[in-house]
């Protein structure tokens, strides 16, 4: 059998007893003939920050992009295994509903070429969430949750491109939050930002986890150490280990993890 299944001890998938929001079981993923993920099993705890680290090309982003089925939109891809949200298989459910419940923030800020207001209201609009609700209220609430309200309140109707890179990324977070997702996926959200903007987003994430479950892919180990409750280490398409962040960084059980953490490769 695949040696990867031996590398993953079953206990590593559940580092704590917190309720499980999402669970991946034996996920394999293929880009054409290339297998990008090998037998990934991972639990994502409710109202926690789960970080995924690993060198480039290790499959962490691929895994994240399977959690909201956005990888389906790529041609010639295939997934095996099961991913559940609140115990229900996401592959069986309506994809737009899944994506409404599981928001996503991308590597580079990608606001729509519209005003700040329109950017935020787009999600609620297409999901039919504006009925009987005040659009301005949704916009204010979302911007406040993304800690952007004070900076943006005077230019709500200006182009989103008038914001700085860090502000644009927080706008994208606000846009994702506007549809009240239960899970928020972030794919290296700070890789295009300066340290100050990065710090703001990290603070924001820690504050957000009371309201939703957060999964973040990051290149930056310090970032994982700062924000995450649990951290998973990916290498060559395999989940090497997933445990409490402290454990991963101070006392990892796998040799590969330790090598990576201590900077011996990657």
């Amino acid at each position: 059998m695949d040696p990867s299944s031996l590398q993953q001890s079953p206990t590593a998938a559940t580092p704590q007893a917190a309720p499980i929001k999402m669970r991946a079981s034996n996920v394999n993923f293929y880009y054409g003939k290339f297998q990008a993920l090998h037998n990934i099993s991972l639990d994502i705890a409710t109202n926690k920050v789960t970080a995924m680290i690993g060198p480039s090309g290790c499959g962490k982003s691929t895994f994240l992009r399977n959690l909201n089925r956005i990888n389906e939109t790529l041609r010639d891809t295939r997934i095996e295994g099961e991913i559940t949200l609140d115990g229900e298989d996401i592959l069986d459910k309506d994809v737009t509903e899944i994506r409404r419940r599981i928001g996503m923030v991308f590597q580079r800020p990608n606001p729509f070429p519209k005003s700040i207001f329109e950017n935020i209201i787009y999600g609620p609009k297409i999901n039919g969430m504006l009925k009987g609700r005040n659009a301005a209220e949704i916009v204010e609430k979302s911007l406040r949750r993304a800690a952007l309200w004070d900076e943006a309140k005077d230019k709500l109707h200006e182009s989103a491109y008038a914001l700085s890179g860090g502000q644009q990324q927080r706008l994208c977070i606000a846009r994702a939050l506007a549809v009240d997702p239960e899970v928020l996926l972030l794919d290296e959200p700070c890789s295009a930002l300066d340290p100050i903007a990065t710090a703001k987003i990290e603070d924001l994430l820690v504050g957000l986890k009371d309201q939703c479950t957060i999964v973040i892919v990051t290149h930056n180990m310090q970032q994982a150490a700062r924000v995450a409750d649990t951290t998973g280490f990916f290498l060559l398409g395999k989940l090497i280990e997933h445990d409490k962040t402290d454990v991963i960084f101070k006392n990892p059980s796998k040799r590969e993890t330790e090598d990576y953490i201590t900077g011996r490769f990657g």
């Binding site: 956005i70 991308f106 990608n110 729509f112 787009y122 200006e158 182009s159």
Partner: protein
């Protein structure tokens, strides 16, 4: 000291070794760029000078007069302006939805292999000489229009109706508009497709990740993002439609009148120039034809100007290209 000497010596050395490629390239490319300006300026100058007898005699009345009579040397441009604008407008009304729709399919939905093959065919279509389109129109489109489409339209709308009244000859504004649509829509497809494919994947994914369907993502996010390019394709198509001569001449009916009915024969600026230039004698006849050319040139300029204005106005807020 040695560095300043080197700095002085360098250009000389460079020219000797003929590696001053940057300077040479600058001179050459600048020359080519200026050439474009020069050709345009010369064109306008020639049109202006050659049309002066007509301009002096008819003044602005040339633009508003419906009279075109070589026997009495009376010339007015209105029927031709009307025909040109009307047929181009009809062409766009037909070609824009078709072209943009096809571009959406090719860029968003079709398999890449299929999309590339189809795009190749579309570009081939754009390269077909217009006289071929004209021939096809005369031998197939005109009979179909005369025997089926025009009577059909009259059956639906009544043969006294404003837009579709009058006798059905097959030739006319609508037929010319149709053939122009066929000729412009390859341009619209291929340029719009490029514009749509240039929309970053992240934009589509942002919409999809919010729970948008593929249609919502395409219609509400991708299309607006690409609107500049699509608008550009429309104006490229319009430019072709306005100036198209051969195919239109063959199916427009060559009737220098102004008719409301789309089924009636008409005339366009380009076709009247092509038809009458060889037999234009005297002082005013050729000059009036040249002035028509000037009018067509101005028409194109005005439409392009309006397009630029439109682009500036629509991109002020939330521009894709900040």
């Amino acid at each position: 000291m040695s560095t300043s000497a080197a700095a002085v010596a360098k250009p000389k050395l460079a020219s000797k070794r003929l590696v001053g490629g940057d300077q040479v390239a600058q001179v050459f490319t600048c020359f080519f760029a200026v050439l474009i300006l020069a050709v345009t300026a010369f064109l306008v100058y020639e049109l202006w000078i050659s049309s002066s007898p007509s301009k002096e005699r008819f003044g602005f009345g040339f633009l508003t007069s419906r009279l075109w009579n070589p026997v009495t040397d009376q010339y007015g441009a209105l029927p031709y302006i009307y025909g040109t604008v009307l047929t181009s407008f009809l062409a766009l009304v037909i070609a824009v939805p078709l072209g943009v729709g096809a571009a959406i399919y090719l860029s968003e939905l079709a398999l890449p292999k299929w999309s590339n093959a189809l795009t190749f065919l579309v570009e081939l279509l754009a390269a077909v000489p217009s006289v071929i389109f004209g021939l096809l129109a005369i031998f197939t489109l005109v009979p179909i229009m005369r025997d089926y489409v025009q009577p059909g339209l009259q059956k639906v709308f009544g043969n006294e109706s404003f837009l579709f009244g009058g006798p059905t000859f097959g030739v006319g504004y609508l037929t010319a508009g149709l053939i122009l649509a066929v000729m412009t829509f390859p341009f619209i497809i291929s340029v719009s497709r490029e514009a749509l494919m240039a929309v970053p994947r992240e934009q589509r994914e942002a919409a999809l990740a919010l729970g948008a369907t593929q249609w919502e993502s395409t219609w509400q996010i991708v299309l607006p993002y690409a609107k500049l390019g699509i608008l550009g394709s429309v104006f490229l198509g319009l430019a072709r439609a306005l100036g198209e001569t051969m195919a239109v001449t063959m199916v427009i009916g060559n009737d220098p009148g102004i008719h409301a009915s789309l089924l009636s024969p008409g005339y366009t600026i380009a076709s009247v120039i092509a038809n009458e230039f060889s037999e234009a004698g005297g002082k005013y006849y050729p000059s009036a034809l040249v002035e028509l050319g000037l009018v067509l040139f101005a028409l194109t300029m005005i439409i392009n100007g309006v397009a630029q204005l439109l682009i500036v106005l629509t991109t002020k807020k939330g521009s894709a290209k900040a």
